[in-house]
C-alpha cells in the first residue's frame, strides 16, 4: 500500500522487486487488497503488449491515510 501510495501506478514486476516478495505471495496480497476495494487492477496495452498496472483507489488512499494517523497516534500515546 505504501509503495502504491507514493506513485501513480506500478506493475506487478516493479512491486515484486521493490517489496522483494515472491510472485505468489504478492499476488495473494494484491487479490485481498483488490477485494477490499483498496487496489485497482488496470489492464492496458503498452506498445501493443498487454500490461497490468496497479493503482491505489480513492478508498485505498483514504484507508492508508487513516492507517497513518492511527499509527502515529499509537506512537504519540506511548509513555516516554
Amino acid at each position: 500500500m505504501t509503495q502504491l501510495y507514493v506513485v501513480e501506478s506500478a506493475d506487478f514486476l516493479f512491486l515484486q522487486h521493490q517489496l522483494q516478495m515472491t510472485p505468489g505471495n504478492l499476488s495473494s496480497h494484491l487479490s485481498k487488497l483488490e477485494k477490499a476495494g483498496y487496489v485497482e487492477i488496470v489492464k492496458e496495452f503498452i506498445e501493443r503488449k498487454p500490461h497490468t498496472a496497479l493503482k491505489l483507489t480513492k478508498k485505498g488512499s483514504s484507508a492508508f491515510k487513516e492507517y497513518q494517523r492511527n499509527l502515529k497516534q499509537v506512537f504519540n500515546d506511548l509513555p516516554k
Binding site: 505504501t2 509503495q3 501510495y5 507514493v6 506513485v7 501513480e8 501506478s9 506500478a10 506493475d11 506487478f12 514486476l13 516493479f14 512491486l15 515484486q16 522487486h17 521493490q18 510472485p23 505468489g24 504478492l26 499476488s27 494484491l30 487479490s31 483488490e34 487492477i41 503498452i46 506498445e47 500490461h51 497490468t52 498496472a53 497513518q68 499509527l71 502515529k72 506512537f75
Partner: protein, 213 residues
C-alpha cells in the same frame, strides 16, 4: 516517527531504483562528449556549426532514451508511473535554467548598447572556465537534489575540479568536456552492466501470476 519523511524516503528509493540502470548517465555522457567533440572540431577544422549539436541532440536522444528504458529497464524491474509532483519539480528546474540561459543571452545581446552588459560580458568571457565550472557544479547539484541521484553531485564536483584546473593551468575547454563525458559514460556503462546482471530477464512466472490477477 515522522511519517512524511518516511513516505518521502520510500518515494526517493522508488525513484532511484528506476534510474539505477545508468542509462541517464550514458545519454548525458554522450551529450557532453559530443559537445566536446564539436568544440574540438571547431578549433581544429574551423567547423563553426558545432552549436547545432546541443540544440538537436536532445530531440534525437530523448526518444532513444525512452526506447532504451522500455527495452532494457522495464522488462527487468517493471514499469512505474510517478505522480506529477516529481515532474513538476523537474519542470521548475528546467524553467529556472531556461530563465538563467535567457539572462546570459540578454547580457550578450545588450553588450553592444549597455555599459553594464558589456562589463558583465567581459567578466564572463575572461573568467569563462571558472564560471562554467561553478555553473556546471550548481546545475548538476540541482538535478542531484531534485532527482535524489547522489552520483550527480560527483559529476558536478568533477566538472568543477576540471574547469577550475582549466582556468588556472589553461587546459582547453574541449578536453575538459571530453574527460567529463567519458567519465560519465564509463560510470553509466558500469551501472548498466551491474543492473543487467542484478536483474536478468524474468522467465515468465511473474507474468502467469500477473495474468491470474
Amino acid at each position: 516517527m515522522n511519517t512524511k519523511t518516511s513516505l518521502r524516503e520510500v518515494e526517493r528509493r522508488t525513484y532511484i531504483s528506476y534510474h539505477q540502470d545508468g542509462l541517464i548517465d550514458i545519454f548525458v555522457g554522450v551529450y557532453v562528449l559530443l559537445f566536446g567533440f564539436g568544440i574540438l572540431l571547431m578549433t581544429v577544422t574551423d567547423f563553426s556549426t558545432w552549436f547545432v549539436i546541443p540544440a538537436i541532440f536532445p530531440a534525437i536522444m530523448v526518444p532513444i532514451w525512452i526506447s532504451a528504458k522500455k527495452r532494457i529497464t522495464m522488462p527487468r524491474i517493471g514499469y512505474v508511473k510517478f505522480g506529477s509532483r516529481g515532474a513538476n519539480k523537474l519542470m521548475a528546474v528546467f524553467l529556472g535554467l531556461m530563465v538563467a540561459g535567457l539572462g546570459v543571452f540578454m547580457v550578450f545581446s545588450f553588450s553592444s548598447s549597455q555599459a553594464w552588459a558589456l562589463a558583465l560580458r567581459n567578466l564572463i568571457i575572461s573568467n569563462g572556465m571558472f564560471i562554467i565550472g561553478i555553473s556546471a557544479a550548481a546545475i548538476s547539484s540541482l538535478f542531484a537534489y531534485t532527482m535524489g541521484l547522489k552520483r550527480l553531485y560527483a559529476y558536478g564536483l568533477l566538472a568543477l575540479v576540471l574547469f577550475l584546473a582549466g582556468h588556472f593551468v589553461t587546459v582547453p575547454f574541449a578536453y575538459s568536456l571530453l574527460t567529463i563525458g567519458l567519465t560519465i559514460i564509463i560510470n553509466g556503462s558500469v551501472l548498466l552492466i551491474g543492473f543487467i546482471r542484478k536483474y536478468p530477464l524474468s522467465q515468465g512466472d511473474e507474468t502467469n501470476v500477473e495474468k491470474s490477477l
